[in-house]
């Protein structure tokens, strides 16, 4: 099986790029590939554990009815999937970007790295993709 490295930069709740990135990671894990994700800039907030669901007064829906999805739960689900499939998922946040944004409390499994981590994992991956912000 291959190793795929993915670089993502978009913050949560703002871009369809995030959905596509999560789909790619999910698909790669299901195919049995090791996946290394490097979150840079705003993407480091994807795994912030302080994210909260909310009700929607415009829709008239309660917190439970709205069931607002938070990306921290998607990341946790990806870690569960990797565990079930017996493949390695690394979710690495740029430490400086984390500190800038105060999002150091992260979903379980996320780790802290630097652009050096990104460089090394882009170099030794079978294939790599950087999804930059627009």
């Amino acid at each position: 099986m291959a190793k795929i490295t993915l670089g993502i930069m978009d913050p949560p709740y703002e871009s369809a790029n995030t959905t596509t990135a999560f789909r790619l990671i999910d698909c790669a894990l299901r195919k049995g590939h090791e996946v290394f994700v490097f979150c840079y800039e705003g993407a480091t907030a994807l795994g912030y554990s302080g994210q909260k669901k909310h009700a929607n007064a415009v829709h008239g829906s309660s917190l439970e009815e709205e069931d607002h999805p938070n990306p921290k739960e998607w990341i946790a689900a990806l870690f569960r999937l990797a565990g079930q499939r017996g493949v390695k998922l690394t979710w690495c946040n740029c430490g400086l970007c984390v500190d800038e944004r105060g999002v150091e409390n992260q979903v379980e499994g996320a780790c802290r790295g630097s652009p050096v981590s990104a460089w090394n994992n882009f170099e030794d991956a079978s294939g790599a993709l950087l999804i930059g912000t627009n």
Partner: protein
């Protein structure tokens, strides 16, 4: 010769850079590389039959596959059976397979 996976996430009407991206795909194929142009998100709007886009169908050829993400098509209620000639619907697994095989990638 190399394999390339070029991913276009923007519609052709959102950015002039999209036409340049198509041109790059065409030029890579003309240089002998195996190229897959994968349309995703609003990029699939150009795949509609009858869309007045920048000759997407015309650049598709033996060395340049043009694929449209099936999920993005469904999100936008675009019938996968009614795409422009030369463009086919595909699952995102195509991108994963190409990355796993060592294809060079560019996202726009």
């Amino acid at each position: 010769m190399s394999q390339y996976i070029l991913i276009q996430s923007k519609s052709a009407w959102a950015s002039g850079g999209v036409a340049d991206f198509y041109a790059m795909a065409h030029q890579l194929a003309a240089a002998g590389h195996e190229v897959t142009l994968f349309l995703v998100q609003n990029g699939v709007l150009s795949a509609r039959a009858g869309a007045r886009d920048l000759h997407l169908s015309e650049i598709a050829g033996p060395r340049l596959r043009v694929l449209a993400d099936d999920f993005s098509l469904r999100e936008r209620a675009i019938d996968a059976e009614r795409l422009a000639p030369g463009i086919a619907a595909a699952a995102i697994g195509v991108v994963v397979d190409l990355l796993a095989a060592g294809a060079r990638s560019i996202w726009n």
